[in-house]
């Protein structure tokens, strides 16, 4: 673990999250075409936020005697903020549900590399989380959301 090289990840004249920040500004209430300086400053704030929470998480892992970071370290890093902690819990609960419901449908037939069962599971979790996010972000029709979405 090293000291935070905050400026090493700094964009060299280019924004880290340009299109995403624009979408989020509109989504959370700003104008449809936000100002460039606003996008820039929000990008910087976000990058700093990621860096600092990662740094806190790495310190937590170090004090626990671990070199490898786990999700728990990041959950610890944001423990002070109730909204973020609640959001993370919500996401993990959604993913867990998805996994449970998938288990019922999915017999695992024809899956490549099923012999190495352990390896596959971890990737499944990630894939399902991604799918969960993709499904959560699908645009909704009049009927509302699918069964996995509970936002």
């Amino acid at each position: 673990m090293t000291e935070p090289r905050a400026r090493a990840a700094r964009h060299k004249g280019q924004l880290n999250f340009e299109p995403e920040i624009r979408d989020m500004l509109f989504a959370f209430g700003d104008d449809k075409y936000p100002l460039d300086e606003t996008v820039r400053i929000l990008d910087e704030i976000t990058t700093d936020f990621v860096i600092e929470t990662s740094h806190i998480a790495s310190k937590a892992a170090e004090y626990s005697g671990r070199t490898k970071l786990k999700i728990d370290d990041f959950k610890f890093a944001i423990r002070g903020d109730e909204i973020l902690t609640g959001r993370v819990r919500e996401l993990l609960a959604i993913d867990k549900e998805l996994k449970e419901s998938r288990k019922q449908f999915d017999t695992g037939e024809g899956r490549v590399g099923l012999e190495r069962g352990g390896r596959r599971k971890k990737e499944d979790k990630v894939e399902e989380k991604e799918e969960a996010k993709a499904e959560n972000s699908k645009p909704t029709q009049d009927e509302g959301l699918g069964e996995e979405d509970d936002e």
Binding site: A27, A77, L84, A93, L145
Partner: protein, 343 residues
């Protein structure tokens, strides 16, 4: 005494010291002939019926020792683990609702508070159902998904469907963007990996993206509040001092954000316009309807960030020693100017 009174060497139950404890209390209730032998057998039957694992609790307070709790750890049956999870989500919902203003803001505010309300209800209902629910044994603090939540989901989905049906086009666009917007995984991974000098597992990247988006949302909402508060002022005022608020009281709106609004409930829209036209610097209580104030400015975000740090809400922003000097008591590294105390 050298040895416990009611045991013969032949029986040798696994836990000699525990067994002697309930005996004195039980003695009055057991009025049987051949008392000592009877108690010995009762004791051994209790010992043998429970699990033989050396660390299992087999001795209970006298009133409860007749229930065979078996392999279940007592803490799973308690309401504590489930309710604790619920509590943190309750505060999230309340805090967010307290800041809800404006049409567009209502979109994500209602979505998020609905999402949290449902989880809260599920957790609270689930807490009472935990003793009967054997499947949640291994979940511990993560057990937010209880069986009681299923009934709630249908109701929440209906409410959400009604809400979505009532959106006009712009609100619908915003909602679509809200659900779709997410950070690119490889950028987040790059930043995180560079910070911690190792490669993080992919689910960590997903988690970080998730809470970063929530953080951005909170910040934008605060920036909008700032924008509305500054709308009638000529020059932005300095950040006011923090009003000491009981941190465990989540029911009132945060007074730190109401500093600019006066309690003039009688002010009508006409009065607002008149005041604005006269260029008075007197702050006005803006109604919930957001008149078009234009796009957000960087200044709004800087002020929003300042307030975020001042209120101490963000455990993870700017307090780790990377950027020091905003007068907020941070972690030890910040106080020491970035040097680590323990190497």
């Amino acid at each position: 005494m050298a040895s416990p009174p009611y045991r013969s060497p032949a029986t040798s139950p696994p836990y000699p010291s525990h067994m002697s404890l309930p005996n004195p209390k039980k003695r009055p209730s057991l009025t049987m002939p051949g008392g000592p032998n009877q108690k010995r057998q009762k004791r051994t039957s209790i010992a043998s019926s429970s699990s033989a694992h050396p660390l299992r609790q087999t001795s209970f307070p006298p009133e409860e020792s007749n229930h065979d709790n078996g392999p279940r750890s007592p803490s799973v049956d308690s309401d504590f683990t489930a309710v604790t999870g619920g509590k943190s989500v309750v505060t999230a919902g309340t805090a967010k609702r307290g800041r809800r203003k404006g049409r567009a803001k209502q979109v994500d505010g209602s979505v998020k508070s609905e999402g949290r309300e449902k989880t809260v209800d599920g957790a609270n209902r689930g807490a009472s159902e935990v003793p009967e629910d054997d499947e949640e044994d291994d979940e511990g603090g993560e057990g937010m998904v209880e069986n009681g939540e299923v009934g709630d989901k249908a109701a929440e989905k209906k409410k959400l469907a009604v809400l979505l049906g009532a959106f006009d086009e712009e609100q619908n666009d915003r909602y679509v963007s809200l659900r779709r917007a997410k950070f690119r995984k490889d950028t987040i991974r790059k930043i995180t990996n560079q910070t911690v000098s190792q490669s993080v597992p992919p689910n960590v990247v997903v988690t970080v993206s998730g809470y970063t988006k929530a953080f951005v949302g909170v910040l934008i909402e605060r920036a909008r509040e700032v924008q509305q508060q500054w709308a009638t002022l000529d020059t932005p005022p300095p950040t006011p001092q923090k009003v000491p608020v009981d941190p465990t009281d989540f029911h009132t709106g945060n007074p730190n954000n109401d500093i600019f609004s006066t309690e003039s409930s009688s002010s009508s829209a006409f009065q607002d316009l008149t005041r604005a036209a006269q260029g008075l610097a007197e702050p006005v209580n803006q109604p919930a309807e957001r008149t078009d104030l234009g796009p957000l400015l960087p200044d709004h975000f800087r002020e929003a960030l300042r307030r975020y740090k001042r209120d101490g809400e963000g455990g993870g922003v700017g307090l780790a020693g990377v950027s020091v000097g905003l007068g907020v008591p941070g972690t030890g590294a910040a106080r020491l100017g970035g040097r680590r105390l323990f190497r």
